[in-house]
Assembly symmetry: C2
Homo-oligomer: 103 residues x 2
Amino acid sequence: MKPIDPIEVFKALSNEARLQILDWLKDPKAHFGPQGGVDLIEVGVCVSQITSKLNMTQSTTSQYLSVLQRAGLVHATRLGKWTYYRRDEEAIKEIASYIQHDL
Amino acid sequence: MKPIDPIEVFKALSNEARLQILDWLKDPKAHFGPQGGVDLIEVGVCVSQITSKLNMTQSTTSQYLSVLQRAGLVHATRLGKWTYYRRDEEAIKEIASYIQHDL
DNA sequence: TTGACATATCGCAAAACGTCGATATAATGG
DNA sequence: CCATTATATCGACGTTTTGCGATATGTCAA
């Protein structure tokens, strides 16, 4: 696991839409309908579902998810033609810990 | 005390120089020489001293300190012709707490 | 009051970011 | 193979950020 880059993390968090996505992903069942046989919790939510809720284009949504991923905040799993994103709770804990001790 | 605006805070933290300043201010005695009869810990460090250590102009330093202040991360005290900045540890704790519980 | 110093603010140019539409790539089903 | 669907990437363009120099403001000392 790549070490945390605080600047990259803070930049990723400096945007309303991206914070919104992270928040929705805290409880996917509460915010997204079920998608086929895929476990929302284990695997995540696909880009189209997130796009539907954000008021933005698929292009923007996909880019924002990449930003979150590069910052280490979410994890992506490709299954067939879908890419499922879920929070990386481990990494998020690390970040919270960094902030608490080093900020 | 004005409530925290996470986006403003994250933006303020999305910059190497500003993180550096916050880090120096964690232990002013370790990073700055004494300044007159002023208690570095209680009152803070003046803009010129911070400017000397940052590799940037007085103008930039002053602006960055304003950004940190608007985000609630530091507190400014004007004494004579100097403005002393110190970390607002209370606010920083609040932010760390926000991140830990709401991120 | 004037001069000198510390800080703040203004206006700029370059870089980065936000967001989109268009297009490319990947995967599936016929 | 082809059409379709999901996602990723590219190019564009307006907005924001970065960092600077120049200048304004505040404060003290003479």
